[in-house]
Amino acid sequence: MIDVLIVGGGGAGLRAAIAVAETDPSMKVAVVSKVYPMRSHTVSAEGGAAGVIGVGDTLDEHCYDTISGGDWLCDQDAVEAFVAEAPEELIRLEHWGCPWSREPDGRVAVRPFGGMKKVRTWYAADKTGFHLLHTLFQTTLKYQDIIRYDEWYVTQLIVDDGRVHGVVAVEIRTGRIETIAARTVILATGGCGRVFPFTTNAAIKTGDGMALAYRAGAPLKDMEFVQYHPTGLPFTGILITEAARAEGGWLINKDGRRYLQDYDLGTPTPTPQLRSMELGPRDRLSQAFVHEQHKGRTVDTPYGPVVYLDLRHLGEDKIDFRIPFVRELCRSYQNLDPVTDLIPVRPVVHYMMGGVHTDIDGATPVAGLYAAGETACVSINGANRLGSNSLPEILVFGRRAGVAAAGFAREHREAEPAVVRAQGQDERRRLERAREGRRTGERVADLREEMQHTLEGAAGIYRTGDVLAKAVDSLADLRERAEETRVDDTSTAFNTELINLQELHTMLEVAQTIVACALNRQESRGAHQRTDFPARDDDAYLAHSLVHRAPDGTPSVGLLPVTITRWPPGERVYGRD
C-alpha cells in the first residue's frame, strides 16, 4: 500500500514528492503521470516566478498586488502564506541547481511583470518553467525510493465513506488496468485549457484532476474564472510571454497606436512602467482587445483578428539575451523575426484560476485527498491570476500538500476496506467495454470541437446570461452523445483513442462547472465579465463559487465567503498611482 500517491508529474506533483521523501523517508511515495514527468506542461512556462527578494520590496506589497490583481476574490490568509514562502521555495530551487538568470555580481536577477508594483519575478531567460521542471525532475532522481508510474492514466479515485483509498489507472503502454491502493492521494494534474478551442495549454491539459475530485464528491471552486492571456500567436495559440512586454514590448493596434492608454491603463512611456500600460493585469488587457475589435481597430487574419506586439525597438541584443525563446518561437512557428517584424497576437485561453477546493494545506473535504497546483484552488489567484504567481504557487502548495498528506498517512495506518477492490473491478469493466470499440457514432474529436466552441461562445472574455443558459443545454446534450462515440482503436497497446475519450468526459464535466458558475455569478469581476451585469457586486458576490456534483451528474453551485485579513476590497487601479 502506497502512503502518498501523487497524480501528476508536473511542478506541483514533483515538489510534493520531494517534500514527502524529505520529511519522512519511510513513507512510500509514488508519482503517477500520463506523460513522462518532464513532458508535463510546467515545461512551457516562460516568463518567471515571483518571490520577494529585492531590497525595497516587501511581502505586504506582493500580497497587495496579488489580492488587487485577483479583484479581492483571493483568500488573504492563503496569499500571505504563499507570499511568505515563495522566496524560500525559489531559493531551494536554486540550491537544487536551477539555472536562474543572474546579476553581474552573481545574485539572482529579477524582472518586472504584469500587475506587479515591484520588480520581483525570478527568471531563467524565458524558459523558466522548463528549467524549473527539469531541475525538479532531475532532483527527484536522487530519491531512488520515489516510485514512478510513467505514462499511466488515472481514470478514477476510489472513495468510500468520505475517505480516499487509491486510484484506478491504465498503463497506457500495455493497457493494463490496475487499482493502486493508497492512504492518501494528491491531485496535481494541472489545468484544463483544452476545454477551449484556442489555448496556450498543451494537449494534456484536460482538467482530469478536477473531474476526478468532482466525481468523487469534492467540490470545485471559482470555475468561472478562466484567464485569457493577451498575447498568443494566431493559429497555434503559442504563448508570447509577458516577459516580452516586461522587457519593453508595446501592444499596438492597426493604426500603430498603443491602445491600452484608451482603457484606463495609464499613459504611454518609452520604457516600461510597473502596473501600467502593457504591464497591466491580463484580464484588463484581454478585455481592451475585445473593445478594439469592436471599434474595428484590429487586423483580420485567417485565424481571427489580431493586434501587434512590437519588440523592434528593443534591438537584437536585448531580445537574444533576455527573451531568446520568443524569437525562436516566432521564427519557427510564425515565420517572422521580432527584431524586424511586428508579432501578430490575440487573447488566448491560458490559465484556470478555479479548481479543486482545498484549504491552505491542500486538503479537500474528502479525507486523505489533497490537491495542489493549477488543478487546485486554494485560493491565491482570486478572479485573475497575476503572471509569474503560478510557478511559485505550485512549489509552495505542492510542498504543503506533500507534508500534509504524509502526516495524514502516518496517522491512518488501517488496511483498505473491501469495497476498494469492488470499485476497481467496476471501473475496469467500464474501461474494457470502452476498448471493445464501436463502429458507429460521432468521433471524439468532433464532439471535443463542438464543446470547445460552445465554451468559447458562452464563457469567453465577455459573457451573458442567455448564451450561458443555452450552453448549459448544449453541454448536457454533448454529454449524452459522448456516451456513444465511435471508437476505432481496440488495441491494448498505447491506445490513445481510449485516453482521448476519457479526457473528453473529464473536459465535459469541467466545462459544465465553468458554465454553471459563470451563469450563477451575476456580476463582473476580474476575468469574469458579464455584459448583463457589468459591475462588481461585493454585497452579493464577494464570495467563492463552490460547485458540487449533484447525484444526477449536474453541477449545483453555492457560495463560500472569501477570507479577508488585512486588505478590504477596493478599486483596482492601474497606471494612475
Binding site: V43, H95, G97, T139, T496
Partner: protein, 247 residues
C-alpha cells in the same frame, strides 16, 4: 481542426503502423491530408487521428517544441514533428516513422525507459558537500559561470540525438549523447561538487562515442552533445594521466 475548403491541396503521408499482436513488423499506411501553409507534420497526424483513423498512436503535448515528446523520423531524419512544416516537403510524400534506435511500442511510439535509466545513472542533480546554505541566500553564480554550462541545460530529452547516433542504434549499451551532455551540465556548474568520472570514463560511456557528430546536427535545442562528449574525453584523459587534476 476541421478543414472546410474542398479545394485545398493535399499531401500524402506514409505513416508507419505497428500493432503488436497484429503486425510482425511495421507496415506503411497512406493518408491524404490537406496541405495547409501553417501545418506542421504533427497537425497532419492529428488530422488523421481526428478525422480519418482514430487508431493511429503517437505522442505529443506542447506543440511548441519544448516538451520533447513528438520526435519522429520524418523522411529519414529525426525531427520534432510540431516544429517541422509540411510545406518543407513540397509535393510529398512524407514518410513518418518512429525514432530509430528504440523498440517500437506501437505505431509511432517508442520505448524510452532505457534513456531514463541512463539519465539517472549519471546523477543529474546538484551535488553539494558540507554545510547547506540557509534558505535565505542563494549560491552566487556570475553570468559567466552560468554561461559555462547553460547550453547543456537546454536539453528537452527529445532523444533525436540518440536516434541520429549510429553508435547508439547499433549498441544500446552506449550511454549516449543527451545523458552525457546532462552530466556535463552539472559537471560544469560552478555550484556542483560532484564527480561523475566513474560513470563517464567507461567504454560504453564517453569512450563509446566515435564522434559521428550527427547528434549535434539534429539537436533542435543546440545543446551540442558531441561537444560535451569530446570535452569530457579531454577531461577524462587528463585525469587518467595526471591523477591529481580533478576537472
Amino acid at each position: 481542426m476541421a478543414v472546410t475548403e474542398t479545394d485545398t491541396r493535399t499531401i500524402l503521408l506514409e505513416v508507419a503502423r505497428y500493432r503488436p499482436g497484429e503486425d510482425d513488423k511495421p507496415v506503411f499506411q497512406e493518408y491524404d491530408v490537406p496541405l495547409m501553409p501553417d501545418w506542421a507534420v504533427l497537425d497532419g497526424l492529428n488530422y488523421i487521428k481526428d478525422q480519418l483513423d482514430g487508431s493511429l498512436s503517437f505522442r505529443w503535448s506542447c506543440r511548441m517544441g519544448v516538451c520533447g515528446s513528438c520526435g519522429m523520423n520524418v523522411n529519414g531524419e529525426p525531427r520534432l514533428t510540431c516544429g517541422t512544416f509540411l510545406t518543407e516537403y513540397g509535393e510529398g510524400p512524407v514518410r513518418i516513422e518512429p525514432l530509430k534506435g528504440f523498440p517500437v511500442i506501437r505505431d509511432l511510439v517508442v520505448d524510452i525507459d532505457d534513456f531514463l535509466a541512463k539519465l539517472s545513472s549519471v546523477r543529474p542533480w546538484l551535488v553539494r558537500e558540507g554545510e547547506e546554505l540557509p534558505l535565505t541566500t542563494e549560491y552566487a553564480q556570475t553570468p559567466a559561470q552560468l554561461e559555462a554550462y547553460k547550453q547543456y541545460s537546454m536539453c528537452i530529452n527529445c532523444l533525436l540525438c540518440y536516434s541520429a547516433c549510429p553508435v547508439y542504434v547499433l549498441d544500446p549499451d552506449f550511454l549516449g549523447p543527451a545523458a552525457i551532455a546532462l552530466a556535463q551540465r552539472y559537471n560544469l556548474d560552478s555550484r556542483d561538487m560532484g564527480d561523475r568520472f566513474d560513470v563517464l570514463n567507461l567504454d560504453d560511456s564517453v569512450w563509446g562515442c566515435v564522434f559521428v557528430g550527427d547528434c549535434t546536427r539534429v539537436c533542435p535545442k543546440h545543446v551540442d552533445p558531441a561537444e560535451a562528449i569530446q570535452r569530457y574525453k579531454v577531461t577524462a584523459a587528463l585525469r587518467s594521466v595526471l591523477p591529481w587534476s580533478r576537472r
